[in-house]
């Protein structure tokens, strides 16, 4: 059981990590926890958790149909694991959907508020109904162990055939309706992936994937539980999967050809390579492996082929579900680690539930027995701490809970709470204006700036003694410090006080008590104010009075200063256009690559702006 034990340790850790991230997602929302945006509203949670989860669960209806409808009794041994996989797959889908939708307490709305025009309405109902059917299909297995449920079990076995038929109907409906979701976006989905027969393609690929998933799951669990692999049975499933995939390939290319879209394959771009890669993983490689008799009957090759098929269909769903949506901004969507963690955690939890069921109920013909649990076995010391952790049940829960708790704590450590509150404000450092008589004011260097006739303003406002009108504060022992010294961010307020200049080892390295009152918490309330030491900070004759350390953003400071003055002058000089945007924002060129910009005359040729006259009532602010 060493393999299973290691696997479970890993899965519990992943679940713990995801639990921490899940708390974060529900506290702070999608914007903080994901890379989703209005341009990319559907990400890996829809593409992987929901769409791939549903496709992975297709094995349930295929195997039940094979055994109970077509009466191929030799497949009976794989019915229970297949139904269990489907059941847990759908539970995982529902949980994954809750993470994406949020507000889980509103999930019942779909039952009451009907919107029959929406494909999602149909999807939602299918998930609910099919989950119910799967629960009823699987319930007889745990009911075997509980004598009180004997009558329930008898009843469920009696109605098994109608349940199987309902399951097949709902499942096929649902697999295809996930494809029909994307029929409304022919202009968004890449033409190599968009197709009017997407529902059919989804259904066919889901059947192929369902078979591959049964093979993959059987061989994987056989490895972990040291079981004899069901290679012979799986070979017939592989043969069937091959034909399904061939049909899928034929459908896909026939559809492209029929709609005249094959020329895209000759086009350039990574999407074409991606298309071939997807088909190779999903169809070409599995078909090759499942066609050659040597590889089809070999356990390892079967496992590899099934793995390729599963990975390929997941890739296909992720592509259709979000990655191949184009024309929505120039930035590609890439899931954040939190999104991937949640997805991985949901899968881990589902696998753990699967292992729980096969260990505690008769999912297989015989339950796997832990040799460690034999009461006659001598106790073994654990590797860590050289202690005996107890019988396997006790030892396992000690170790797994440690994995869960440790990973969850790691998750809380990795998640930075900052993005939750301040993502969206990207710091934009300010660059000082350049030039001499005329200054080019372009704080963020994006080329859209203002050519400010500094010398003219100085002359008009009264020479040197007018500096303090704008330069209201200066650095100690400085005159006319540039604006960007305090207004350090383009759009966000910044701290005009520099703590590091005072206390930091590269600054003045002052002891704390130089400013802070000793013996009290060191906050700005307990500290001296600037002017208690720096007598020359505020310029003589400054109009703007500073009352706080927080300096407004560069744009706000500039606009308030200039526009305020321009409003006054507009009235006194009878120039009503003075406070309007275009009075100053004339130049729309980069400072560096505009050698012809007429800085003497201030006005580039042809850049005159004609404004409608300002209404009288609004000329005064």
């Amino acid at each position: 059981m060493a393999r299973v034990r290691r696997l479970k340790f890993f899965l519990w850790a992943l679940t713990g990590l995801a639990a921490a991230v899940g708390v974060f997602r529900f506290l702070f929302g999608l914007g903080a926890a994901t890379n989703l945006s209005d341009a990319y509203p559907w990400g890996v949670w829809i593409g992987f958790d929901v769409m791939s989860g549903v496709a992975l669960a297709a094995g349930g209806f295929i195997v039940t149909a094979t055994v109970y409808i077509f009466k191929l009794e030799r497949f009976h041994v794989i019915v229970r694991p297949a139904v269990l996989t489907a059941f847990l797959g759908y539970v995982a889908v529902a949980v994954g959907l809750l993470f994406d939708l949020g507000l889980p307490w509103n999930i019942w709305h779909m039952l009451i508020y009907w919107n029959p025009h929406s494909p999602l309405f149909e999807v939602g109902w299918c998930v609910m109904l099919y989950l119910t059917v799967l629960t009823l299909e699987f319930l007889p297995v745990p009911a075997e162990e509980i004598s009180r449920l004997a009558s329930v079990r008898r009843f469920l076995v009696k109605i098994r055939l109608p349940l199987v038929i309902a399951g097949i109907g709902l499942s096929t409906l649902h697999q295809s309706s996930l494809g029909s979701l994307f029929l409304i976006m022919p202009e968004y989905l890449h033409p190599l992936w968009y197709s009017p027969i997407l529902p059919v393609l989804f259904l066919v690929s889901a059947i192929g994937l369902g078979l591959a998933m049964v093979i993959f799951e059987s061989h994987t669990t056989a490895y972990f539980y040291y079981r004899k692999p069901e290679t012979h049975l799986m070979a017939s499933l592989a043969a069937a999967a091959r034909w399904v995939l061939v049909v899928y390939l034929a459908l896909r290319f026939a559809d492209l050809a029929w709609r005249g879209q094959l020329h895209h394959l000759a086009g350039a771009g990574w999407q074409v390579w991606w298309f071939w890669f997807e088909l190779a993983v999903m169809a070409f490689v599995p078909i090759a492996i499942f066609s050659l008799p040597q590889t089809r009957r070999n356990q390892t090759w079967q496992w590899a082929g099934a793995l390729f098929g599963v990975a390929g269909v997941v890739l296909n769903r992720v592509n259709v579900g979000g990655l191949m949506h184009q024309g929505r901004g120039d930035r590609l969507y890439w899931p954040s680690w939190t999104e991937i963690t949640i997805s991985a955690g949901i899968v881990s939890a589902a696998v753990l539930a699967f292992l729980f069921f096969i260990e505690h109920f008769r999912v297989w013909q015989e339950r796997p027995v832990d040799p460690e649990a034999d009461p006659r076995k001598l106790p073994e010391l654990s590797a860590v701490g050289a202690t005996w952790l107890g019988v396997p049940v006790v030892a396992n829960r000690t170790v797994y809970s440690l994995a869960f708790v440790g990973a969850a704590a790691l998750g809380f450590a990795l998640i930075h709470p900052q993005p939750a509150s301040s993502r969206g404000i990207v710091p934009v450092p300010v660059h000082n204006a350049r030039g001499a008589d005329v200054l080019w004011i372009d704080g963020n260097l994006d080329g859209y700036g203002v050519a400010f006739p500094h010398a003219d303003h100085e002359k008009r406002e009264g020479g040197k003694k007018s500096c303090a009108r704008c330069h209201h504060m200066n650095l100690p022992r400085d005159k006319a410090s540039p604006c960007g010294v305090c207004h350090r961010d383009m759009y966000a307020p910044s701290d005009a006080f520099r703590h590091d200049w005072h206390a930091g080892p590269r600054g003045a390295a002052l002891p704390c008590v130089k400013c802070h009152t000793p013996g009290r918490p060191r906050t700005k309330e307990t500290a001296k104010t600037c002017d208690q030491c720096h007598k020359d900070l505020v310029a003589e004759g400054a109009v703007i009075k500073v009352k706080q350390y927080q300096a407004p953003s560069y744009t706000e400071a500039m606009h308030r200063l200039c526009v305020g003055c321009h409003v006054e002058r507009a009235a006194s000089r009878h120039k009503p256009d003075m406070p309007r945007c275009a009075w100053c924002h004339k130049e729309r060129r980069r400072f560096v690559d505009a050698p012809d910009l007429d800085f003497r005359g201030l006005r580039a040729p042809g850049s005159e702006v004609v404004l409608p006259p300002l209404p009288e009532s609004k000329s005064k602010r």
Partner: protein
Amino acid sequence: MSLESWLDFARGPLFRLCFSLMILGLLRILVLTILGMKEAWDRSADKIVPWRDLTVQTAKWLVPVSSLWRKRPIYSAVSVVFHAGLLLVPLFLPAHVLLWKRAVGFAWAELPQALADWLTLAAVAAGLGLFAGRVFHSAARALSRRQEYVWPLLLVVPFATGYLCSHAVLSPRAYQWLMLLHVFAGNLILLLIPFTKIAHCVLFPLSQYVSGLAWKFPPRAGQRVAETLGYADRPTWVERPRVATDRILTPTEEA
């Protein structure tokens, strides 16, 4: 990395890791203990457990001056002072409450700064006193494991550094080094709580019940253990006073 970024790291991600590990780890040990108790209860043949007596015992041990007070009054008093400092200062120091307010947006009552200062000094003195008691009292030394010596000293570190940081006139560099030590020691304490004897902060209410239930294992449990180990012919209880050389021989040694 500069000192400032180390401080940011210790106060940010590292603190979140240690703090959440403490909370979750304590929950884990609590749940595991309760599960173990439940199993002992399920497996015990006689279900007569003196619940009332156990509860009374638990309550008695909660009162710091009851039984220990008479036997070791100094130890008892110092221990009470130590616990008061350990619990009150980290949670209600004005500067710490301010940190919480900045981090989570709400705050709670503060201790007066003067009281907090005195409690801090008392906790430092009490911690050193308890360590001295461990070292110089021969009975205590015989009972002590390694962690018993480490804990009082480790607990003193953040108190001493915190006091120095807020009161001594220091150069910024010395302040930052002390603050770094303060935060790292605090984090280490949080990290170790659920895995060492400090877990008694949540396990204390259960300890009497655990001992009570431990006697309720299936009858002949000890005998069966001996049979499993291959010592069926030996008595399952120790007849002589236990000494260091009294260990169970391995089968090869016995042969």
